[in-house]
Subunit: 206 residues, 2 copies
DNA sequence: TAGATTGTTAATCGATTAACAATC
DNA sequence: TAGATTGTTAATCGATTAACAATC
């Protein structure tokens, strides 16, 4: 941690993997780990793990390794998941349902705060503990609630319109499950999940 | 396409994105595109698109660009998604339900062929058009059906056991939704989807 | 022909790895 | 002290980009 250059995004992308592994080790009751042990678990080189962490500070002790709870807390802080982010979910289909019901956000920095859909037959119904809201009112609702993070679970054809409305509502980070690349202003972060692209990446090798 | 070195995996990872964009352009009725147009749509440089494609052949015409249907067919062939892969889904919870009901596999090279769970109360029940099978019988069933691709949608604690059983059943490509890094033999391909890691990658910048 | 765009080369840029002094 | 492991440097490796001849 000596230069002022931005940390490469590829490094940022590995921090959540480290965090997940540390949490897992902690649940197993372990207190200390090493870059070597992490490397074996994750299939990443130990040098890379040390180099990645060195962008942010010195978290280990020579000869001793890393205190797991401490390193976890540091990475949480770096990633800003030492707080809870309210997340809007757009799309109340099967996937939206699975996302809203998913118990895995708790404890990792996120909480679903509201659900939107554009289908008049769904608006007003309950999904888990939420009442499904009209996407038409989304921008205002997002602003009111101060929501910065959203998950898009709508068909590809609706994704760009939904994303535009999210941006209008002040959302700055969007996870898009719709299988289409959307356009956003440069200040908005996008991430994509399309299971088919992951599968296609593997069939090449079969 | 002149050397015999393996094509970098990072290039393989972009082909499904190109394929998705080409299919989209075709649906819009367009017949020809250029590396420049694709680049603008995808937020990738045109040089990179041309270089990626050049690993596999010459698919365009100078001054004219690419015939979309032709390039799409070529990428489908390269990725081996010019056939239909039968996919096993493990885990019949909300996520497994969403995956089985998802209509987006059709036309992109995949079809859900069977569903497994370890919960005796679920085994034998229907999920969509499938009867939920016992994971205990999974390895034999996979071999019988000749299944090479699987999707894991079980809790983290069960993932390694499930993956071991899939490998035993001859599966060679696994898409894991459980938020844990698993160990597989080197000949088995793994891909991961953990929405929380994607979200955490974005909150760093907020 | 003139304009456009490919496929490819070489240069640049960035990421990973190997190695080791520092030190717990 | 001896052994282990960090944090960091320099070397290696690989990926991206710029540029342009080829050519449709």
């Amino acid at each position: 941690m000596k230069d002022s250059k931005p940390v490469p995004d590829i490094v940022i992308g590995r921090l959540p993997i480290y965090l997940r592994a540390l949490t897992h080790l902690l649940e197993e009751g372990q207190e200390v780990t090493s870059s070597k042990e992490m490397a074996e678990r994750l299939g990443i080189s130990s040098a890379q793990i040390r180099k990645d962490l060195s962008h942010f500070g010195e978290f280990g002790k020579q000869g001793m390794g890393y205190n797991i709870a401490h390193l976890r807390d540091q990475i949480r802080r770096i990633l800003q998941v030492d707080r809870i982010w309210s997340v809007a979910v757009v799309g109340a289909g099967d996937l939206g349902h699975a996302i809203v019901q998913y118990g895995g956000f708790e404890g990792r920095g996120f909480r679903v705060a509201c659900v939107f859909d554009n289908n008049p037959e769904k608006i007003g119904l309950r999904l888990g503990k939420f009442e499904i809201c009209d996407v038409a009112e989304m921008p205002e609702r997002l602003k009111e609630m101060g929501i910065a993070v959203a998950i898009v679970a709508v068909p590809a054809g609706a994704a760009q319109t939904v994303v535009d409305a999210l941006v209008k509502g002040g959302v700055q980070a969007i996870l898009n499950y719709a299988p289409i690349t959307v356009t956003v202003p440069p200040e908005v972060r996008m991430q994509y999940i399309d299971p088919v692209t992951h599968l296609q990446r593997m069939t090449y090798y079969l």
